[in-house]
Symmetry: C2
Subunit: 204 residues, 2 copies
Amino acid sequence: MAIRYPNGKKYVPATEKKASSKKQVKKDLTFSNRGKTLEDMIDEANAYYLTVKEAVIHKKPVPIQIVNVEYPSRSAAVIREAYFRTPSTTDYNGVYKGHYIDFDAKETKNKTSFPLKNVHLHQVTHMRAATAQGGICFLLIRFSILNRSFVLPFSILNAAWAEMEKGGRKSIPFDVFEQDAIEIKESYSPQLDYLKAVTVLLPL
Amino acid sequence: MAIRYPNGKKYVPATEKKASSKKQVKKDLTFSNRGKTLEDMIDEANAYYLTVKEAVIHKKPVPIQIVNVEYPSRSAAVIREAYFRTPSTTDYNGVYKGHYIDFDAKETKNKTSFPLKNVHLHQVTHMRAATAQGGICFLLIRFSILNRSFVLPFSILNAAWAEMEKGGRKSIPFDVFEQDAIEIKESYSPQLDYLKAVTVLLPL
């Protein structure tokens, strides 16, 4: 059984992460993936932006409810009982060129549309509120089989979500991405230079 | 032995929090404290700002390194081994009137100055980077015995930190707060309406 965070993401223990990345490398030796997960690519981009002073964007830690902690003498405290909590925001936020940036990252194996079941109500609610305050909100969506990544402005997601709530379609067609989203061109360093695409969303 | 997070804060297990708040109520029945911790007051203010659509500001979860998770059938996953990690940012951020807001909260029992040992280098480094991107950064400092709270602009902290690194004084005198910080007037709902003080820091 795959273990998932409350936000639906698969849980991978830190000790297994390296091993599983290696496995992926064997399967996929194309230029643009190299076994990196979408999260790895975003981490790499954020570290790059911080170093070159282009932006300060961090992934938020997973919220945990701690119940019991042990304190072995002379060593670090060990959490012995804790539970995953449902987050109330998106995973990433920060500041770029004076703007508040807020987004979540999603990966899909679908080739013709992005299923909205990948998005959670609390994420939509949060991005609505942050947009109303003048924040720049979006989804960073990777179509893994197509090897293409997009910045989808929150306005498009919001409209699709409202449609779905009225009984409309439960996914965003790939056509919409080609027309209304901003494609992230893969480069070398960082591989996923997503802020170049986000620049299009900034007010003039 | 008091248990502390890597950022120096005392660790209080969630199950003990209620009990310890009750204890504090007994000790302190003045109008403005009522046994609430500074964190409680900020949580209350942030919930209020979200409800009245004035700002979207959240506390970041404590970063944890998860090593082992158990999955009892039919119940939630239980984290059985995890460790506290050192955060790389401040505790609070969000968006207010189109501005990126970033701060940490500090409480001191000192009455004549704020000791800089309450601040950590990674917090200063982070606020330097966020300020350079146009973010509004500050410390929310509560002098608990004096029952007075201030928004200290990052520029003042940054100058004092640089002085200390050159061998200068290791604290910020209370005079500096009265002159250069913005006092938070306590009110009813929310009790600690800190954004009113932050407004002074926003660019015109």
